[in-house]
Homo-oligomer: 571 residues x 2
């Protein structure tokens, strides 16, 4: 139990020099990759760049202590940063100090929620987010983020949170485009795309091992950062209007506390919940992918606690909502990280960056960071999955489509909420007609099969209906209708047998429907029987009065029912 709550006890025992070396190497590589990402995602969330660094120190340590994945790398990620921007944008705050305080509060609320969900073992909540909704949401978010960052590439001022007003505003501002910024941004994007797609094979051709080549190829963003800093500084591009990150405070974050303002909490509650669930789902899926590769295990409820403490740590150290990120976790994994200590070492690396390199990024063009973001998020945009979902299931496609369209047009929060509600409604609708079949006896055997598909023996006085799904409120009334219809069509019937080998559950609504069916059939002189009821279902039925009131019998097997009832009804 103790070990379950403090997962690091699992690996600290076996820690040795070899593990240390591997973790250190991975930490250095992830640090290099995380610096530009942290800065960029802080800007995406509408926060000062250094906040991104702050959110990449203590949270990593907290996760190393409480998380169960060996290789997950937490920190600011694109989708959660976008959701943060949307949540804070709704508040209509005036000063950037208020905005930062709200971001810290959001991280705190989200952390507390994750922690509580973990403690109460509510990891199952994530199940309400279907895959089509999640992937539609991430695709739409990717498009929205890319559109949002275009302003930095063009060097114009644009306001707006939705696709329509962003593009409209970009179009209006097209005259004020800063050509130098545009050139810098486009070149950086081209460079990053080239690195992403071509560097690894090229390095391999030069004899580098695929493993090492893969890691080197991930350093593209930091290279772009260094080169564009040098260019901007060397050619005094600031003087001709290229916007840079500017002065970033040096030093470690000071202790911060969430705002204790119930009104603010109320306003942020829904956003915090959505951020928590989306962040958790994303993070767990990355962690599971990596764990499976080494046949390791993660515990979703403990992951909630890990991410919860990470977010609380973020709020205590001036950061904003964080979660496990896909690309950096993969780099961490491939660079050879063996234990969460690699995450703690990364935290040290970022702390050193916050202490020493912030003066160096004064001349970092915002266009470079925007290019980094755009190249990263475009890999989130997966149009193929839309087509595949369309081919596979129209109902899943509908949920995905609504999520994408609403996310783009009316914002991330409404988009994902509508998607979740729609997918639940569609599921209930889909299961509201339980599969069922009239069955008859395969002559000479004890088997009973669908009368439409097999040549079977039936008895006009007996209607035998096999029900192939659990019975619950959404399909209970359908069952009633089906039975009444069958009895209507066969006025000679005196027995209805419900064959229940596939019924795993009968909820109170379905029980009431069965009671009603029983009563109404009795009124018209027909007896209701059950057959092949599963043990647990039978136990539950015994806790009601249904079996006492049942006009017929419960038969252990359908063959029993047949033997007892066949031929008893005069034709």
């Amino acid at each position: 139990m103790f070990k379950q709550c403090l997962p690091f006890l699992d690996w600290t025992g076996a820690y040795n020099r070899n593990t240390l070396t591997n973790d250190l190497v991975a930490a250095v590589i992830v640090t290099v990759m995380l610096i530009p990402q942290s800065l960029a995602y802080a800007l995406l969330a509408g926060l000062p760049a250094e906040v991104g660094l702050y959110a990449s120190i203590l949270p990593l340590v907290a996760y190393a202590l409480f998380g169960t994945s060996r290789t997950l790398a937490v920190g600011p990620v694109a989708v959660v940063s976008l959701m943060t921007a949307a949540a804070l944008g709704n508040l209509g705050l005036q000063t950037s100090a208020e905005y930062l305080a709200a971001a810290i509060t959001l991280a705190f609320l989200s952390g507390v929620m994750l922690l509580l969900m973990g403690v109460f073992r509510l990891g199952l909540c994530a199940n309400f987010l279907s895959h089509p909704v999640i992937s539609g949401f991430i695709t739409a978010s990717g498009i929205l983020i890319a559109a949002n960052q275009l302003k930095h590439i063009l060097g114009v001022e644009v306001h707006g949170n939705y696709l329509v007003d962003i593009t409209h505003s970009l179009w209006q501002q097209r005259e004020t485009t800063n050509l130098i910024t545009l050139a810098l941004g486009v070149t950086t994007m081209a460079f990053l795309f080239w690195v992403k797609n071509n560097l690894k094979p090229m390095l391999q051709r030069f004899g580098m091992s695929p493993h090492l080549a893969g890691i080197v190829a991930k350093t593209g963003p930091i290279l772009a950062v260094m080169i564009t800093i040098l260019i901007t500084w060397g050619f005094d591009l600031v003087l001709i209007g290229v916007k840079v990150v500017g002065e970033v405070p040096t030093g470690l974050p000071s202790l911060s506390l969430p705002v204790w303002d119930l009104d603010l909490w109320k306003q942020l509650l829904t956003s915090a919940l959505l951020i928590s669930i989306v962040g958790f789902v994303e993070s767990v899926s990355v962690a599971q992918t990596l764990a499976a590769k080494r046949r390791q295990r993660i515990t979703p409820n403990q992951e909630l606690i890990g991410l919860g403490t990470a977010n609380i740590a973020a709020s205590l150290s001036g950061g904003f909502p964080v979660t496990g990120g896909f690309s950096r976790s993969v780099v961490n994994f491939e660079a050879g990280a063996e234990t969460p200590a690699a995450g703690a070492f990364t935290a040290v690396g970022i702390a050193l960056a916050a202490l020493f390199i912030t003066p160096l990024i004064f001349f970092l063009p915002q266009a470079t960071l925007a290019a980094t973001i755009i190249v990263a998020v475009l890999s989130l945009v997966n149009l193929g999955v839309i087509r595949r979902t369309w081919n596979y299931s129209k109902s899943d496609f509908a949920a995905m489509f609504v999520t994408i369209v609403l996310t783009l047009l009316v914002g991330v929060e409404l988009g994902i909420t509508a998607g979740v509600i729609l997918s639940i409604m569609l599921h209930l609708y889909r299961t509201s007609r339980p599969h069922s079949a009239l069955v008859g006896r395969v002559p000479g055997t004890e088997h009973f099969r669908n009368v439409d598909r097999h040549d079977v023996e039936t008895d006009v006085g007996i209607i035998t209906l096999r029900v192939d799904e659990s019975l619950y409120f959404a399909n209970a009334r359908y069952l009633e209708d089906r039975v009444y219809d069958l009895v209507m069509l066969n006025q000679q019937a005196r027995h209805v047998v419900l064959m229940c080998p596939a019924v795993n559950l009968i909820d109170a609504s379905a029980l009431e429907s069965l009671e009603t069916i029983n009563r109404r059939l009795s009124d018209s002189g027909v007896r209701l029987h059950l057959s092949e009821v599963k043990g647990p279902v039978m136990d539950q039925l015994k806790r009601s009065h249904f079996l006492d009131e049942l006009s017929g019998h419960v038969f252990l097997s359908q063959f029993d029912a047949w033997t007892k009832l066949h031929g008893t009804v005069p034709l």
Copy 2:
């Protein structure tokens, strides 16, 4: 098709003198019963008494034309009237003219919604209301209505919509109780309870047929009305503070139209939806009960159209929302009504009442109407069902309990909405762990059974998991976890076989989980196979790339899988 939309064509052909007599007799009895009910429910909804009569004329004709039940009697009912009061109370209207106009608009919106749901065949929407939620809601509404009517029995002024403020206000006003009113109200209630419970057996003892005695016993309310009118008039009770219905305009309703005000529509939309669905569910369940007794059929989607036109008719003739009522439909049925013509004749009866008897009800005490309501709604309060649900299923009980408590404490609309949401969440939660079992071969046969319950043959290199439910987003991740756990626990396994004889559906989320399982197992050197996949599921899987990527095979039978894989893994 034509006949389906105009169900009255079904019975008008065979209409004869005998049917006419039966329908006329039933209509007279229902009219007598409906007059006090209409007046009382209009007052409950906060409207002038005559509006209740108006809502019992044209709507009955509309339902007779478009409804499918032969014996359903529509008109104002208790729960819908309470919901009307709650919806209109929220608006904060100043004048009673505005209030009436809003009630007419509410009936119109509800009618249009019902009509549209019928046209688009959305009768299934009613399935989202589980039985425990509905019965909890009706019980709570009954209590709320009874509490609300106590003020008329006590003759005090009370405001409030929730149980707490009503009782608090009653307590504060206790000093102003009008003792004559109280005596009148309590006596009337006692009389009505006595009639309800004792009159029928007594009449039978005097030799009356049970059938006739039952019908006479239903005339209690009209007797109470007549007697108390005489007492109030004879003793001039108005002078000593007994409140009466007062002047009621004589004549038929004039044509009315809903208010064309988008803001008002927006405010009433949710209420109209809730009223429509609750009214529909109630009405259909009554109609089905009666239809089953005579082996007749009702069509839920056509019922929506019938109730929709009835509500639109109500809004055009100065009425308020109506639906099929339980007690009056039973009376109609038992009095021998054979066709919906009985409803049309009842409408004529009520029209005559509106034309001629309104002067007679000037002296009708409000306490009498309140007593009628209280006696009627207390039969809705079913505390037994609460205990039965508790015994049967804690999860259904939770949904019911929340519905009751919230309806009483924060109002009907929040109460039922919370109940619906909770019951859906609990259902998803309950099905989020699909039943599954590790299976092995019953030696010497082709059968495979649960390894925990049977003595079966297994192979350490093969994990065979039988999945007993459809796979969809709420349980897809659980399946993933289950498979990874099994593989973790059995490091020698090289094959995982999912046996799917009970899987009726694999949605896009579950498909993605299967793809992920396949990929992750491949990464760790384990192959995934399927067996006994149902035809329709297989057809759907073929529309994806899953089968191409599957590392193993799809076996027609589990025995096939066993034969091919058994013994292939070196120990």
